[in-house]
Subunit: 127 residues, 2 copies
DNA sequence: AGGTTATATAACCTATTGGTTAAATATTAG
DNA sequence: CTAATATTTAACCAATAGGTTATATAACCT
């Protein structure tokens, strides 16, 4: 997973890690405190932190025996930018247009519209 | 990976899948055409499509022997919404505000900040 | 029916992920 | 130095991911 964007999205693809980021958004804290809400072992949290750290989302300091973690949201900016390019595809207005165009598409072809008797995996659009 | 958000981010955490979505943003197309730019086998692309489909990002139809894929960006909306909550952390302007608030937070007990380097959240050590 | 095209599935492989427990490390306190 | 605390690393495990090749399925076209 060489690229930054993949690392960022992969890091976000885990609820534990997202919860850690949410906690860090409230301020810098220690690993132990981060781990507290979860029912997993400390090494597991440590691994999650390493994933976040390698994705550049968490930076750490050293203070005595603590390794305080703090949020570094910079990589999220790139991710948000990527998503932004798709905004028009989820805008409600365009959704309606989409559905309209889709109906046109399916009504248009003069081909014999053989009934879709096939298996149910493509039932999504059949309203 | 039970939740929708995790499925969405996980689906986006692969450059091939992001490229597939980018292609689909230009319009519905077949699996073969989707696979063409990549140097991987067709089953590999098929698997990527299945990941995207289970994440709800791609819907498929049936047209003769083709299974046209089309983008369904709805799940991206939730992802973008999640990221949006962190926008203030990557905006440079608010970054300055953050730092200011952070200093205030840590300077609170005393009046003047006299080189108090300790971070507040891990001070349970005062015995 | 038989052949071609488009796509999916099966079976397999290796690397990575997410978790565990046990041991090591780093730092402070006494 | 020793003990305590915070955290990481090591070794292991099961499940998943991402790829392969070979085979199967589905629909079309003679």
């Amino acid at each position: 997973m060489e690229d930054q964007l993949s690392a960022t999205f992969a890091a976000l693809a885990d609820p534990t890690r997202r919860a850690i980021l949410a906690r860090l958004a409230m301020g810098e804290t220690s690993v132990t405190e981060l781990a507290e809400p979860f029912q997993m072992s400390m090494p597991a949290v440590s691994k999650h932190l390493k994933v976040l750290e390698r994705a550049g989302l968490v930076a750490r300091g050293r203070e005595a025996q603590w390794r305080p973690c703090r949020l570094d949201a910079a990589p999220l900016k790139e991710a948000a930018g990527w998503l932004e390019a798709y905004r028009r595809f989820w805008s409600a207005h365009v959704d309606a247009l989409e559905r309209y165009l889709d109906r046109m598409e399916h009504a248009k072809p003069a081909k014999k519209n053989t009934n879709n008797k096939r298996r149910g995996s493509d039932r999504k659009k059949e309203k």
